[in-house]
């Protein structure tokens, strides 16, 4: 079954509001990756987190990796219409097998 759980499944926000998606694993992950998929497109890599407690920022996006390396979050500050899409977390089970969460679909009302 799905070993990487992601919530919420959907999120609707007004432009300018913040957005957060959460990722949880039943097992310790060697690292966590985040991807964005625009409607009709393919997933595009955003970032990889490796260290326990790691926090990385990309402009309005903040990524965190939990201390136990079993959870992660992506936070977007002041959403824009260009942020629309589905955000996936993915965790490595071992060194080769990358397993994806079901994703959070973000819609932004202008």
């Amino acid at each position: 079954g799905q070993q990487v759980m992601q919530i919420p499944q959907y999120q609707h926000v007004q432009e300018g509001e913040d957005f957060t998606t959460y990722c949880n694993s039943s097992t310790t992950l060697s690292n966590i990756q985040w991807y964005k998929q625009r409607p009709g497109g393919h997933p595009v890599f955003l970032i990889q987190l490796v260290k326990s407690g790691e926090v990385k920022k990309q402009k309005r996006l903040t990524f965190q990796f939990g201390e136990a390396k079993k959870n992660s979050s992506l936070h977007i500050t002041a959403t824009q219409t260009t942020d629309v899409g589905t955000y996936f977390c993915a965790g490595h089970l071992g060194s080769e097998k990358l397993v994806f969460g079901k994703g959070t679909k973000l819609t932004v009302n202008p």
């Binding site: 890599f45 990358l98 397993v99």
Partner: protein, 113 residues
């Protein structure tokens, strides 16, 4: 630089037919993956390969076969198509030395009727 190329982009199959989805990458990546994505769902790993001649099962391998005779190519074979295999298929690759980033192809949309 073409990256990861998938063909065909669209295909309609009848139940019981067979077909091969092609995937090629020109980045000299060792690792290659096949995922399927059902509507509104995440990506499920079908098969993966860590190098030429080596393949392994993912989460949902039943009904599929793969081969990896060269570093560049990783075809996915459906032997007896079933309606449950209607999906969008993504091929991806990555290097062992970079950040771990997966580079995805544009996808192949398969419908089995």
């Amino acid at each position: 630089n073409a990256g990861v190329t998938q063909t065909p982009k669209f295909r309609i199959l009848k139940i019981g037919q067979s077909m091969t989805l092609q995937c090629a990458q020109d980045m000299n990546h060792n690792y290659m993956y096949w995922y399927r994505q059902d509507p509104g769902m995440g990506l499920k790993l079908i098969y993966y390969s860590v190098g030429a001649g080596i393949t392994d099962k993912g989460e949902v391998p039943n009904g599929y076969n793969v081969s990896r005779s060269t570093t560049e190519d990783f075809p996915l074979r459906l032997e007896l198509a079933a309606p449950s295999q209607t999906s969008v298929y993504f091929c991806a690759s990555r290097s062992v030395t970079n950040t771990g980033e997966l580079f995805f192809g544009e996808g192949s949309r398969l419908t089995v009727l």
